[in-house]
Amino acid sequence: MQNVKAIDNLIRQLSKLPGIGPKTAQRLAYRILFMSEESVRQMADALIEVKETIVECEICHNLTDIQPCALCRDVFRSDDILCVLEEPKDVLSIERSGKFKGRYHVLHGSISPMENIGPKDLRIDQLVRRIETGHFKEVILATNPSVEGEATSMYIARLLKGKVDHISRLAHGLPIGGELEYADELTLGYALEGRKDF
């Protein structure tokens, strides 16, 4: 079948998204084409709305539609402890754990000179200023355990040395509900090193 210009354009737009190849884009495009006009309009509005209303929180740099964001406004959260994360989606992961009641700081990436991302391209200066002016007692560096994530944490730890009492790192360990037999040897190694007293 000969493709029509408008459909081609939609396919091209959809394939800009991560994880969407030409075939999936085509399937999605045809799916959209056969949806009701109302649903399509809702979808299009949602796309525009997200772009127009979502901004970076001026305090924690998480994404929000109010300034400052709900997490920074929440008076029941502790101002003693700060959790530093790479991406806004990581905030959701930590929140889901329900174990953390402090404040957040989102860096928007990790240091990777290969991709031309240096410390200046992340919200690191803002983090240092926040520590200097705030009353935090502990900073948890919860970046990913990749080379870039580790480097980012180590870099921040150097900058914050002497400015805050306690700097910590997330532990590596065994997944809950997993059996030892199936854990890979690296994770098991880390879990052994980071073992706790009974």
Binding site: P113, P119, V147, E148, E150, A151, R158, L159, E185, G189
Partner: protein
């Protein structure tokens, strides 16, 4: 380990080929460009899900065919397994005993091979990266932590080199460089220690193999050449960091990392003289072969069973005595696949082998 049966479909110049093999020596005989090495490549592909002759899987498909498949029955410690590898539309899938594997790494260790081909002369004659790769390949196959740390090490070096380049051109990033130095010292030391440990095991094995191949006439020795200063065995993270610190200005000037295991080498000597500089072509080839035999012995030591040995066009390069020693060596419980243009050389031996004649993508 044994390869009992293989079935190829659309693999290189084989349209459809089913074949069963003998327990010991199997010889593929045929003229040039008939598909002897392709057959070895298929066996190699079963062990690593990649080719030793082609970089792209696409190139392994028979002309104008949409897919290729290799199916085999292998035995590991007398337990039989079937491996099915399919390449279709740019995707590789593996079935082990008819069950799909989530990732190709899970195939590791099911079927191990050691290959020796004419290109392996580069192990002796070529640049240091060939020799580093030889050590790394051994370690990657038998030590998953090493595989992960080596990947991390290469990543850190890449990131560090980018910082060094920008430092030369634009701004000062001393703090960031220090972070990569801290990472390197931990990761690099790990790499170094594992390489030294495996070399300790490979050295006597290579010396033994070389002694047998040369009828006791030559003594082969392997030594790790580390570019970090001081005694490599007692090296600590602190020493490593100090060395990086001392070398920093030079690294900045050059714009890349000049220190660490990514620049190390392996020295191969015959009776105390460098095989690379003073060895004859035949001696160099024998040294490379000894290294490969040491690899097979190491796997036997580590896995409790010999890997399958693949010898691509080796016999024609060796003199009669060395050829005889090699065949005697492999004839001890190692399943071996040999390609040659003429099996006459082997017939003079008093050993038993299965013979397959290959012509134009078919075994006849």
């Amino acid at each position: 380990m044994r390869l009992e049966r293989i079935y190829l479909q659309n693999f290189t110049n084989y349209a459809s080929q089913d074949c069963m093999f003998g327990e010991n020596i199997n010889v593929f005989q045929g003229e040039n460009a008939q598909g002897k090495s392709n057959f070895l490549d298929a066996i190699y592909y079963l062990s690593r899900a990649c080719s030793y002759r082609h970089n792209k899987d696409k190139e392994l498909m028979r002309w104008e065919q949409p897919y290729f498949r290799i199916k085999a029955i292998v035995s590991q410690k007398n337990e039989k397994h079937t491996i099915t590898l399919t390449y279709h539309e740019g995707k590789k899938t593996v079935l082990l005993d008819e069950t799909p594997l989530q990732s190709l790494d899970q195939l590791a260790g099911t079927f191990l091979t050691v290959i020796f081909s004419p290109e392996d002369l580069a192990l002796v004659k070529g640049s240091p990266d060939h020799r580093r790769k030889f050590l790394d390949d051994e370690l990657i196959q038998t030590d998953r932590q090493y595989a992960r740390e080596l990947y991390r090490y290469k990543k850190i070096i890449q990131q560090r080199n980018h910082v060094l380049k920008t430092m030369r051109q634009r701004y000062e990033e001393d703090d960031l460089l220090q972070v990569y130095d801290d990472q390197l010292a931990v990761c690099g030391l790990f790499i170094l220690q594992r390489r030294l440990a495996i070399l300790d095991k490979l050295n006597p094995l290579a010396a033994k193999a070389h002694d047998q191949l040369t009828d006791g006439k030559e003594k082969l020795s392997l030594r790790y050449l580390c570019n970090l200063p001081g005694d490599v065995c007692g090296l600590t993270e602190k020493d490593y960091l100090k060395a990086l610190q001392e070398r920093r200005q030079e690294d900045v000037n050059r714009g890349y990392s000049t220190l660490g295991p990514h620049r190390d080498d392996l020295e191969l000597t015959i009776d105390g003289h460098s095989a690379k500089t003073y060895g004859s072509q035949g001696q160099q080839r024998t040294v490379a072969l000894s290294l490969k035999m040491a690899e097979a012995d190491y796997i036997q030591f580590h896995e409790g069973e010999y890997p399958v040995l693949l010898l691509d066009d080796v016999l024609s390069e060796l003199d009669g005595t060395r050829r005889e020693s090699l065949l005697r060596l492999v004839n001890q419980n190692i399943q071996t696949f040999i390609t040659c243009t003429d099996a006459e050389d082997m017939r003079s031996q008093t050993l038993h082998f299965e013979e397959f004649i290959i012509k134009d993508g078919k075994i006849i």
